[in-house]
Symmetry: C2
Subunit: 262 residues, 2 copies
DNA sequence: TCAATAGTGTCTCTCAGACAATATGAG
DNA sequence: CTCATATTGTCTGAGAGACACTATTGA
């Protein structure tokens, strides 16, 4: 048997890989790898931006609200794991077009049990589908989320409210999120607000088509300092949206429908 | 001994954690976690943007050029690992202000040996310090890097050149990079180009102070479609730079020195 | 005094934002 | 016809970019 040095530095790449797979390797400590998914949608009725949260039934952080997510396995990328876990936990089918990687959180101690590193994703889902929460499924809700004029992020579940301060990164209010999920949500909302003008992928949450007013409402919830004129969106975002030219019904002048360009 | 269900769902959080640490847990497969660092700097003489590459001495990808980086351990975050590995491999001390997280790469098979997930960082370093490459240290070089008018990314090491096409994501030319490092570099340069106008952190590569001409040269290498007037930077980037008012020597009118605001 | 280099002033063009005007449908 | 609602047109101010002009030094 030839030695390690021979295979690493003198053999061919093929010989090396064959040797590598047959050898034992010192086991360095490895982290568990998870994904967490910030799933955003808007409710058609209220036009409010919503965020999917799940109530934890077990320790740690029992009874706290958390983002959906789970473990990544070795035959998939983190984006595939994100899509798979979302489907498993909520029944919702996402595609690579609906999700984008947000950030990887790795601060030691972020999970009180053991070493867990998590890659967070941001997902866009049309029209808040109703969520099943049977006995063994975890309780899942659509929480409303918006940024207020003080630049804080406000979450609401029913009458309960939680505020994330973007300066101090502190959570206050009626409930606390599990793990470092408040930081993840803060980063998600902040990134969305920054990108409204040049990569308005968020509009996917409005479904295939939407009115200018609906788009403006969404933008306003992410950044209450934007222009107060919904109509101006057809100028400022002309490169990103196109008219589908169907009209909806209702009181008042019918609004035109637009869609996000490919 | 009480059972798993009791500790997960009925005990207090403290009891749960104590039980958790004393118990055996099914070992799911875990990935190795690494960091890769895209370290950018500019050479004072040539004013060219440079990228730090290391030549691999062992399989896999023996003799290919690669980004510096290494394994993350359980008592540090990925950013700490990035700073530590950079110091170990190059002697360069970075701080959290000099680095930013780029993306986490996790596509199965990206490392031919085993399951390796890597979080890539982007680092800014002033004035291309000279690199030691002794016997046991890996060979390290500053490769020049810029984006050409065809929107390709061009790397050069001496007379050898490699081109990364940002449409097809193919590498052509005299050398190939190890692993998926061409994709990492492409993402780094693309992100920098997009952020020149609102978060010009890249200017850190110019050191504490710089002239408008130097700043423009850097911007031009990242995006050759920018304004052709270096002087306009004092208008367009007035929010980000401030004059230090010292003047340099040389032929012609002395240029003012600016620095990146805090 | 000229060449070389750098910074400043000015003009133009584009575009974001506010507001007024117009379009469309319900009752 | 009038009200409610939504889109379109117009005006204005700010700012990016091009270019010419001025400033500062060495030779």
């Amino acid at each position: 048997m030839k030695d390690k040095h021979y295979y690493e530095q003198q053999a061919t790449e093929e010989e090396f890989l064959e040797w590598y797979k047959q050898s034992d390797h010192p086991q360095y400590e490895k982290p568990s790898l998870t994904v967490d998914n910030v799933i955003l949608s808007v409710d058609e009725e209220s036009q409010s931006l919503h965020l999917l949260l799940i109530k934890r039934k077990a320790h740690p952080f029992k009874d706290h609200w958390a983002l959906p997510g789970g473990f990544v396995s070795s035959d998939e990328s983190t984006s595939e794991a994100c899509i798979r876990e979302t489907a498993e936990e909520t029944g919702v089918k996402l595609t690579t077009d609906n999700i984008e990687q947000l950030y990887t959180f790795s601060k030691p101690g972020r999970d009180p049990r053991t070493w867990v590193v998590s890659t967070a994703y941001l997902s866009f889902l049309p029209q808040c589908p109703t969520l099943e929460h049977g006995d063994d499924a975890k309780e899942a809700v659509w929480a409303t989320v918006h940024r207020n004029k003080e630049n804080q992020i406000v979450l609401q579940i029913g009458a309960k409210q939680s505020i994330i301060d973007t300066v101090t990164h502190e959570q206050t209010g009626d409930f606390q999120l599990a793990f470092d999920h408040a930081k993840i949500i803060e980063m998600a909302i902040t990134r969305l607000g920054n990108k409204l003008n040049y990569e308005p992928k968020v509009l996917q949450v409005l479904g295939y088509s939407f009115t200018l007013k609906e788009a403006w409402n969404l933008f306003y919830q992410l950044d209450p300092t934007i222009s107060s004129d919904p109509g101006n969106l057809s100028k400022t975002h002309a490169d990103f949206i196109e008219q589908v030219d169907y009209r909806s019904e209702g009181r008042g002048r019918p609004s035109r429908l637009y869609r996000l360009k490919d």
